[in-house]
């Protein structure tokens, strides 16, 4: 089976490529990359006026499988990913049961082999049952296929446990990802604490709850000389700590979501539960600081934090709704329109942040690059295509997305995983 992609603008930040090239895929792998390949291929794709990028990687997804298959399954989540332009996704361990042992990791991998159309990389829990008391059998989990460790939304509370996890992660050359939240400060909060939480009468989640844990993690990572990845950065104060740490060569990387880049706390005026997310939508100043941090190279990765919830769960009073936004199918178009099309960040930079860099951070050697011999995972973009976000058309099982109705310019139009077209307009 051969597939020839002709005349695409090939952008591969890993090799610094940005030119019109043809790509020949043979038996799942990239076989030839050069201008004007003249060969009889089984299938030819005309990519004129399109961008061919290394497959996008979402290193922060929630698939709800096992346990909450009414919200999302590995199958449905992978379809949503493919439609959103992602060829690989890393899924968080907060399933039922928690992915804290080889059995669950193996289940995810085998179910993905059976039913997923994109690559699925499990992230295992740092502590047993995400309880923050005992470390999981991390070596066994790495052996089973876990690519990183995180206690996700129930972040490791005890500094001592985080310290040990960071130290132990070096043995395995693996990565600890932390959702930075001091829950004793956020308590029953439902939105960012500040003028708007006071105005709307909603319980606040102060910026300090994130800043404190970011600062702690940076100190612990520095002392342990271990890698730490800060999940979904959202406040200016935390950016400043990371900027300083990077100057000191602390091994820190960090990520941001489209919703934290595009929406602010004032939007909660509608009490729309689709705007309830953790970390919460922050102040306008924080939003501006996040965009600047991308430009300054402080933020490394763009992630979705795809968190599917059923309509019924979200169709309640704001206080009672679960946190989370369904993001796989809107992330790429949102960034293409709001940041790339508007010339806030260059396209190459965006591709680097959503493919090249996450592959490096997760240690996925043959991902995030367009190179002869690697698995042919490719994302094809049409920068001029106009779309309207329509939750009714989501491939995801859930529709909890606040961008419904937004008109966006730029969209993924084809997704290729291992040489196979898994999504096409």
């Amino acid at each position: 089976m051969t597939l020839l992609i002709k005349n695409g603008r090939v952008i591969d930040p890993a090799s610094g490529t940005d030119e019109t090239l043809d790509i020949l895929i043979d038996k799942r792998k990239i076989a030839v990359i050069k201008p004007k390949i003249e060969i009889e291929a089984k299938k030819i794709i005309d990519a004129s006026r399109l961008v061919v990028a290394p497959g996008f990687i979402d290193m922060h997804t929630h698939l709800r499988d096992p346990g909450q298959e009414n919200k999302e399954t590995i199958h449905s989540g992978s379809l949503a990913a493919a439609k959103g332009g992602f060829t690989s996704i890393a899924c968080m361990p907060n399933t039922l049961p928690v992915n804290d042992n080889r059995g669950v990791t193996e289940y995810i991998i085998s179910e993905a082999k059976k039913s997923a159309v994109v690559n699925i990389f499990p992230i295992a829990a740092v502590s047993k049952d995400q309880k923050g008391k005992e470390l999981t059998d991390m070596a066994d989990l790495v052996d089973a296929g876990a690519v990183a460790f995180s206690d996700d939304g129930l972040p490791v509370k005890q500094s001592h446990i985080m310290r040990r996890a960071l130290e132990y992660s070096k043995l395995l050359n693996t990565l600890i990802i932390d959702h930075c939240e001091d829950k004793s400060l956020t308590q029953d909060g439902v939105m960012h604490e500040g003028y708007y939480s006071y105005l709307f009468g909603l319980s606040g989640m102060p910026a300090s709850s994130e800043e404190i844990i970011v600062a702690r993690d940076l100190i612990l990572a520095e002392k342990a000389d271990a890698r730490i990845h800060i999940a979904h950065l959202s406040v200016k104060g935390a950016i400043d700590y990371i900027r300083e740490a990077k100057k000191k060569k602390v091994k820190v990387t960090t990520e941001v979501t489209p919703h934290h880049l595009l929406l602010a706390d004032s939007s909660l005026e509608s009490y729309d539960t689709n705007l309830k997310v953790n970390p919460p939508l922050r102040s306008k100043d924080d939003v501006e600081a996040l965009v600047k941090a991308i430009k300054d190279g402080i933020i490394d990765v763009i992630v979705t934090d795809h968190a599917p919830h059923t309509l019924d769960e979200k169709n309640v009073e704001l206080d009672n709704a679960p946190f989370g936004i369904n993001g796989l199918e809107t992330a790429v178009s949102l960034i293409l329109d709001k940041l790339v099309y508007k010339n806030i960040i260059p396209l190459q930079k965006f591709i680097e942040m959503i493919s090249t860099t996450p592959a490096i951070i997760l240690g996925l050697e043959n991902k995030g690059k367009i190179k002869v011999g690697v698995e042919a995972d490719l994302t094809i973009l049409n920068l001029h295509k106009e779309t309207v976000v329509d939750i009714e058309k989501f491939k995801s099982k859930s529709q909890n997305n606040p961008f419904h109705g937004w008109k966006l310019i730029g969209a993924p139009v084809m997704t290729i995983v291992g040489g196979k077209i898994v999504y096409s307009e």
Partner: protein
């Protein structure tokens, strides 16, 4: 100026003249409650449901009497004996009640924004009777009515609001309301319950009550929620009483003809001394009485329709 809103969700989005329209209407309806036969047929045939998800005696009875004095039929929904305890969602509960064709739903709920949320899928008029720490519009309106009764107008009145501002829907609605009417507002309370960002609402803040109360025309005490102390929002009730209780000594710093207000229920001896609560300066029971007229006005304005001219 006509009142153009379908619902009463809060004070924040009302104009000063809309607020005055409500107060004027309340004034003309006030007299009905003093008659021997306390009933007029203005809302005959209208159905209203009191939908209270939080305990309330004052507000619920006040709405009930207001509706009855206008001849509307009103029923009370009680959370404890409802399907909510069987796990029915709020939306299902409301849709089921709405299937019985009420004209208005009066909502009290512990979650901020709930009346707003209900208004997104409901046909009926929605009246907010208190949503979480957000708004309590009829309380602010009856407070404004009471202040006007005592002080004639609002311009340059110094109003001090004291207590747990952070968690108080009464404070928020009063800030919005009295600001629009031209009063000068000072907030006082312990810093953990009074974030400085409240200044952006156009008020002054003084944590020191003895200073804040100086020259006040209106002293509005808020109920201190005893459970807040368990959340360490302040050290102890003893400390709170020492710093923020309205005592005779403190009251002397206010203007001679100052009035004392409280939305109730009061914690005697905590935020207000019994002596002050029962003093001639207290208008606490007037607030309760006026509450009925104000709520009659709201029901009349929202549900009155064509019969509006027949008020006299």
């Amino acid at each position: 100026m006509p009142f153009v809103h379908k619902h009463l969700l809060g004070i924040q989005h009302l104009t000063a003249s809309e607020i005055l329209t409500i107060l004027d209407t309340a004034e003309s309806l006030f007299e009905i409650s003093t008659r021997e036969v306390k009933k007029v047929p203005i809302l005959r045939g209208k159905t209203i449901i009191n939908l209270f998800f939080e305990p309330s005696t004052r507000t619920r009875s006040s709405f009930e009497l207001a509706a009855k004095r206008l001849s509307a039929d009103i029923i009370n929904f009680n959370r404890q004996t409802s399907s909510v305890v069987k796990g029915e969602s709020l939306k299902d509960t409301v849709l089921n009640l709405e299937a019985m064709n009420p004209d208005a739903l009066i909502i009290r709920h512990f979650a901020a924004g709930t009346p707003h949320y209900i208004s997104t899928f409901c046909r009926s008029h929605i009246i907010n009777a208190g949503d979480g720490a957000h708004e309590h519009p009829t309380q602010a309106l009856l407070d404004a009515f009471t202040i006007r009764q005592a002080k004639k107008n609002f311009k340059d009145l110094k109003v001090v609001i004291i207590g747990d501002i952070l968690h108080s829907r009464v404070a928020r609605s009063n800030i919005f309301c009295l600001n629009k009417l031209g009063a000068k507002i000072i907030l006082s309370g312990p810093p953990p319950l009074l974030p400085l960002e409240f200044k952006k609402f156009g008020v002054d803040i003084d944590f020191n009550l003895d200073r804040a109360i100086k020259g006040a025309d209106v002293i509005m005490m808020l109920r201190i929620q005893l459970e807040r102390q368990q959340k360490s929002s302040f050290p102890s009730l003893r400390e709170y009483r020492n710093l923020y209780s309205l005592t005779k000594k403190r009251f002397r710093r206010a203007k001679k003809n100052a009035i004392i207000m409280h939305p109730g229920p009061i914690n005697r001896g905590v935020e207000i001394s019994a002596e002050m609560a029962d003093s001639a300066k207290s208008v606490i029971l007037k607030q309760v009485e006026n509450g009925i007229a104000v709520r009659m006005a709201i029901l009349y304005i929202l549900l009155g329709g064509k019969e509006r001219d027949s008020i006299d």
